[in-house]
Amino acid sequence: MARGTAAGPRAVLAYLIRRLFAAAVMLVVIILVVFGIFFLVPRWAGVDPATMFVGKQADPAAIEAVRQKLGLADPIFAQVWEFFKGLFVGRTYAAGGDVTNCAAPCFGYSFRNEQAIWPVLTDRFPVTLALALGAAFLWLIFGVAAGVLSALKRGSLWDRGAMIVALGGVSLPIYFTGLLSLAIFSYGLGWIDAQYVPIEESFTGWFGGMILPWVTLAFLYAAMYARITRATMLEVLGEDYIRTARAKGLTEPVVIGKHAMRSTMTPILTMLGMDLGALIGGAILTETTFSLPGLGQAVLKAISDKDLPVILGVTLITSLAVIVANLLVDLLYAVIDPRVRLS
């Protein structure tokens, strides 16, 4: 930890390059693992992966052809190599007189429905991102507000009530709260038509369809954030520098809103970055419950279909999202907390 002024732009750049390099290595490892799970595990179990992609009247010629077409006969490293080549320079699929050129970034074609993966990702990513960001907006506002209020009114009826609700929110799984909210607000009372409508069709329809998923997902996280905000706030309020702030003659709103919040928000923001990253890959339950056509839904379907290219594509995108989110958090952390140095 160097004394003196903050690290210069060169140090930040070097740091970024180092981190990006590490991220690239990480992505390669992830791809290898996914490939491994996909091709090695069935092989150990004595099952030919090719049989998963032929109909119920599978004739041996068809199985062999599928094997050729999907490159299942090639060694895994050759397949991985082809995959990477596709990402950067595109690749060409040729089988049985059917030639397909796949331009970079080529994530390949679905084994199941022959759809190119890249458009699937670009089509579905915004849905997941909107779900995550919208929910994050809600849970930050309500979670942090509830946490701060609870801390300031510790032991009060409000505090106890809020913390019980928060405990519920943390421990109830999304498929429970999700189905419950659907049952009550959508099917039962009919207040909200919780059906996904693409934003380009109708903004109000889209917004209406996103309300329940946002609220349900936000409830889960708001609960968590409220508890952590409360604990952090109470800890911060006991700090000497809060006493100093009061001794300066600052009003209580400034003491809480500026001095205490600044410190309280640091762990919250760290968590937010991680959670957003994880949500982009892990909103599967929410997307499934509400039939939202996002990445989580796609990957769930792909896993049950053993559709490797889709799994790989989604995994890559979501790993990237997690890595970027972590990097942003680290950078943000260095901005928020001057004691942190990028190294």
């Binding site: 030919d48 429905n113 022959e114």
Partner: protein
């Protein structure tokens, strides 16, 4: 891959689902209106009103958007590649064939009627030559006429299994049993029409020359895999993403696993099509990931019907039966759900040991595990589905499964065990797909009742996505010792050939992708199939079908659970609704209309 690892989570989810189901039914009680069994002009037509009969035919009006919902997308919308029953049914919106099923309810719907052709085939006396003439005014979506070459090319695509895998290959087996033709994509001839078995002397005439007669050939031509495809519009492996339409509707947009929208094909002429009413202006299919959510939306009236046509999920079923019975039909699905005994696994090589299992099983509890008499179906007593000609239904019950031995017959089972040389019982393994909770439940039921007769079974849940690889390989089945496999089968087309040939004919025992799980090698049965395909007389065909069923059932290769039934939802908006045996008790999609 491990076959058990999702069980814990599934239990948790099931528990949560049960709680929610309870809440749902209460919520719905408050809001829902009451539909009675009796039909009304603007309401539901009544329970079973569309089951094997036409409901509210006169109320159908032109126009509107018919809304399908689905929990699963088609395996492919390419006519050559699709194998899901609902996909074949739905394909009739945008694809025509020389002949197809009649636009009539029940068994009549399974009868062949001319579609693109002016009449059914002129068949030569030896049953080997089929001649069709194309109708006037049949066109593609761009207005160009559909020619005999387009028909031939479409059929030839079945040969390109290396590119277009997944669909049925009956055409290939019948027209080119030796596999001489390599498919249009490897066809050296200029017009890519090198298949010798089909001749197209002019644009209107199609002649099929079969190496061997096959009395079900017109049924096979009624499959959507015999659809015409125009060569310049063939996008090969991508064709399923946007097929070129010959029917009354065409693809407007399609995102797999999300949404499919069909709009009117303005170049299709009602006068050229005796089968399709084509009432709605627009057909949409919205795909859900949460089947319960989908059922709720059906009940709410947001959608008209489930494209899957495999029945409501348990919680939706409960609500619907209570409050909206008039919106339900309870058709026979054409599927038989059963356990099958591979003869390669000892002691199932001995027919008495197989019979011991059949007698030992509690048929009623198996039926309950399948969902009971309404949602599950009648107790299965033999191996021919009620929708297939030649079936005698429950009247033929060689093991008295639906009567005397309904709850198992321990004494008889022990007798059979003695005869088999295993008086103290034996141990074996049940193989069951892990993604079908109902099948797992039947396996557990079977396990419990077999214990009473001294047969101990382990249950091995295998990855359902790898069904073909795991139980489709006789070698693997033998290695794993799967003495009992839980499966189900429905007819590809409703004849004994379309249902039973892949299951029972010894020439269908394959090294991989095998469906003759019992490994039946019975000269009599093979001979009966040979007779069947040569027999052109309908009455005699039915007779042979019955005989095949008797042979298979008496051979004790199978323990049938149920003749499956579903509870399907029909929205109050639907008119001209009826189930058809052509698609195993599904509604005839292409003739559905909406009320105004």
């Amino acid at each position: 891959m491990s076959t058990q690892r999702t069980t814990g989570r599934r239990k948790q989810a099931a528990a949560a689902a049960a709680v929610v189901a309870a809440l749902l039914s209460t919520a719905a009680c408050g809001g829902g209106g009451n539909d009675d069994d009796g039909g009304s002009k603007n309401g539901a037509a009544g329970f079973n009103a569309a089951n094997n009969k036409v409901a509210q035919a006169s109320l159908a009006k032109k126009g509107g958007e018919l809304k399908f919902a689905g929990a699963q997308d088609a395996d492919s919308w390419d006519t050559t590649r699709g194998y899901y029953g609902f996909a074949w049914n739905f394909m009739r919106y945008y694809s025509r064939t020389l002949v197809t099923g009649k636009a009539e309810p029940g068994a009549k719907g399974a009868e062949v009627t001319p579609d693109l052709a002016t009449s059914t085939a002129k068949i030569s006396d030896d049953g080997k030559t089929y001649t069709y003439t194309l109708r006037d005014g049949v066109t593609w979506e761009d207005g160009k006429p559909i020619t005999s070459k387009d028909v031939k090319y479409g059929i030839e695509r079945v040969w390109a299994q290396d590119v277009l895998s997944g669909g049925p290959v009956y055409l290939k087996d019948v027209l080119d049993p030796k596999g001489e033709y390599k498919g249009p994509y490897k066809d050296k001839s200029k017009d890519k029409l090198g298949l010798k078995a089909i001749e197209t002397p002019d644009d209107k005439t199609v002649i099929f020359k079969l190496p061997e007669a096959n009395s079900d050939f017109e049924d096979i031509l009624g499959l959507t895999s015999a659809s015409p495809v125009r060569q310049d519009k063939d996008t090969k492996s991508k064709y399923g993403l946007k097929p070129f339409s010959s029917g009354p509707y065409k693809f407007q947009s399609y995102t797999p696993n999300k949404k499919l929208v069909l709009v009117r094909n303005e170049n299709w002429k009602q006068s050229s099509d005796p089968v399709r009413k084509a009432y709605p202006d627009k057909i949409s299919l919205t795909l859900f990931t949460n089947a319960n959510d989908m059922d709720q939306r059906l009940i709410n009236g947001d959608y008209d019907l489930d494209i899957g046509q495999t029945g409501l999920s348990p919680q939706g079923r409960t609500t619907a039966l209570k409050q909206h019975k008039g919106n339900l039909d309870n058709p026979v699905s054409g599927y038989i759900r059963y356990a099958v005994f591979p003869q390669s696994v000892k002691p199932f090589d001995n027919e008495h040991c197989r019979k011991a299992v059949i007698y030992g099983a509690d048929h009623e509890s198996l039926q309950t595990a399948r969902g009971g008499p309404v949602a599950g179906g009648d107790i299965g007593t033999n191996m021919l589905p009620p929708s297939v000609p030649g079936s005698e239904g429950q009247k033929y019950d060689p093991y008295e499964a639906a009567t005397t031995n309904k709850n198992g017959n321990v004494a008889k089972a022990k007798e059979e065990l003695k005869a088999c040389g295993q008086p103290n019982g034996f141990k074996t393994t049940i193989a069951v797909r892990n993604n079908k909770p109902v099948e797992v439940a039947t396996a557990e039921s079977l396990q419990a009742s077999l214990k009473k007769v001294g047969i101990t079974v382990d249950i091995d849940q295998f990855d359902g996505a790898q069904t073909t690889g795991i139980i489709g390989s006789p070698e693997n089945v033998k290695k794993k010792g799967y003495g009992i496999i839980i499966m189900g089968w429905g007819p590809d087309f409703p004849t004994v050939q379309g249902y039973g040939m892949p299951l029972w004919d010894s020439k269908y025992i394959l090294e991989s992708g095998n469906n003759n799980f019992a490994l039946i090698k019975d000269k009599t049965i093979d001979g009966l199939f040979d007779d069947y395909v040569k027999e052109l007389d309908e009455a005699k065909k039915v007779e042979i079908s019955t005989e095949i069923n008797h042979k298979v059932s008496e051979g004790a290769y199978y323990l049938p659970f149920v003749f499956e039934k579903f509870i399907n939802w029909r929205s109050s908006r639907l008119a001209n609704v009826y189930t058809t045996d052509n698609y195993s008790g599904q509604y005839d999609f292409v003739n559905l209309g909406l009320k105004k």
